[in-house]
């Protein structure tokens, strides 16, 4: 293979004249982090709320939330982003559609909202399954003590379900970060998009994607540490089996 490696490419000024290739990639990383953080900030509370509603006896809210989860979980994320970004403005009446298209940072906002909704649907699925996996007796014990169903949910079922689903949530957190790269398809200049433009300007495809890979790994290494810390802090005496951390004695 006659590929000319050039690791010195990073400090070189990029062809678009905005700075070095390194700063090009780092600005991509910035958008990736912002998209990941905001969409997770939307997905976690929304997903928990939906997950809880899906376990309540009331039929109406339960069915509505089930429908939400099935819809947003089962349509590919890339299709959802296209629908909101490209199709929706065309479907709206003329002035509204144009206004939407001209919004500053429309790609970023669309990416955050689409990814947030998508991850929320997945989080709600985990939370629902966690609550439903608890033994039926726990609910009965709370009710038998005179607690209301809402109190049983808040004080008994949720704290236990969340501990059960924490590892699954950690993996949704990682997925959410990785899925930000889909936003490239609607023009958000996040890390993967920046690696691509670096490749197009400089033809150093391997260096560009090696750097992107390392940056993704670094971000998710931080994510993994954060979730491990959360798991450790929430571990219950007598039940704790922290992963990857060996035995205490």
């Amino acid at each position: 293979m006659d590929y000319a490696w050039n690791w010195a490419i990073f400090p070189a000024p990029s062809a678009d004249g905005t700075g070095s290739y390194l700063s090009l990639l780092l600005s991509g990383l910035g958008w990736t982090l912002a998209t990941a953080a905001l969409s997770w900030g939307l997905a976690l509370p929304l997903g928990m709320l939906l997950g809880i509603l899906r376990t309540l006896p009331q039929r109406g809210p339960r069915l509505a939330c089930d429908a939400y989860a099935e819809l947003f979980r089962n349509i590919p994320l890339i299709v959802q982003m296209f629908l909101w970004y490209v199709v929706l403005p065309e479907l709206l009446p003329e002035p509204a559609g144009t206004w939407l298209k001209r919004l500053p940072n429309a790609a970023f906002a669309t990416a955050v909202l689409s990814l947030g909704r998508y991850t929320a649907a997945r989080v709600s699925e985990q939370v629902r399954a966690g609550i439903e996996s608890l033994p039926r007796g726990q609910r009965q014990a709370g009710i038998a003590l005179g607690l209301s169903p809402a109190q049983v949910h808040a004080s008994v079922l949720l704290p236990n379900a969340l501990r059960i689903v924490l590892p699954a949530l950690a993996s949704e957190f990682l997925n959410n970060t990785k899925n930000t790269s889909v936003a490239m398809t609607i023009g958000l200049m996040e890390l993967t998009a920046r690696a691509r433009s670096m490749q197009e300007y400089s033809f150093q495809v391997f260096e560009a994607f090696a750097a992107a890979t390392l940056l993704y790994l670094a971000v998710n290494a931080v994510d993994v540490r954060a979730m491990a810390l959360a798991e450790r802090r929430l571990a219950l005496p007598g039940l704790s089996r922290p992963r990857g951390d060996g035995h205490a004695f």
Binding site: G137, Q140, A141, G146, P159, N160, P237, G238
Partner: protein
């Protein structure tokens, strides 16, 4: 063993209580009473409806017909439950709370007691069931017998007028059954009204005032303790007794 019968209404009155799941009748017109301070043991073959019978007393299981009164009142389920303590076969302690937290949760949320007041009550009850030293531990750090005693203390913390037990010893190692039955016998001595589903016939003999024998959703026998053991009327009760007592 006889207890002074007070002149007022029984603690539990059930009149023609029926319940079914779909077309399957779990309880078929069960009528019985439990006097204040009385201890009633419920036994019978598996699937005969014993758990369902006591879970209808505190409205954990709704019924299709019949009436259930506790202390003469047909009260709303939540008020009723705060006044009836229930102990389950599998303890059902809340694993995320310490022993103390398990005892305080409903005291604060249902009875509106202060944190300090709830803790005082909790510590006194833990003393009573011999677990004062375990107050700060979590359920998973206790043995089955200790967990079940915590569960009893948790129910007692609500000042119940009636205590319901659903096979409280059947998930315990044999060597822990005795200590739990001792706690229950002491509770009975202190005058608590109790309905106990159990196969511990030794306990029934020593502590119970009456025995209810169920079969296929019906109360087949409802007799004073001595009469039940000496002259059981039904075929199935005789079969059960001979199986349990001659082993």
């Amino acid at each position: 063993m006889s207890r002074p019968l007070s002149g007022d209404r029984p603690a539990i009155e059930r009149d023609a209580v029926s319940k079914s799941y779909g077309s399957f009748a779990v309880l078929k017109g069960c009528t019985t009473q439990v006097a204040r301070g009385e201890v009633v043991v419920v036994c019978g073959p598996s699937g005969s409806g014993k758990s369902t019978l006591i879970k209808t007393v505190n409205a954990l299981e709704p019924v299709q017909s019949g009436t259930i009164r506790v202390n003469g009142l047909q009260v709303a389920p939540r008020r009723l439950r705060a006044r009836t303590g229930m102990v389950f076969q599998h303890f059902e302690l809340f694993p995320h709370l310490s022993v103390l937290g398990n005892l305080c949760l409903a005291q604060q949320k249902v009875l509106g007691r202060s944190a300090a007041g709830a803790e005082r009550t909790a510590r006194a009850l833990l003393e009573r069931v011999g677990l004062a030293a375990q107050a700060e531990k979590h359920p998973a750090q206790l043995s089955g017998g200790q967990q079940q005693r915590v569960a009893i203390a948790r129910a007692l913390a609500m000042n119940p007028e009636v205590m319901l037990f659903d096979e409280p010893t059947s998930a315990l190692d044999p060597e822990m059954v005795g200590e739990l039955l001792d706690v229950m016998a002491e509770l009975a001595r202190d005058g608590m009204t109790m309905m106990v589903v159990t196969h511990e016939m030794g306990f029934a003999r020593k502590v119970a005032d009456r025995v209810i024998f169920m079969d296929q959703g019906e109360i087949v026998e409802d007799a004073p303790c001595a009469a039940f053991f000496e002259t059981p009327r039904s075929e199935r009760a005789r079969a059960l007794l001979s199986r349990i007592l001659h082993h």
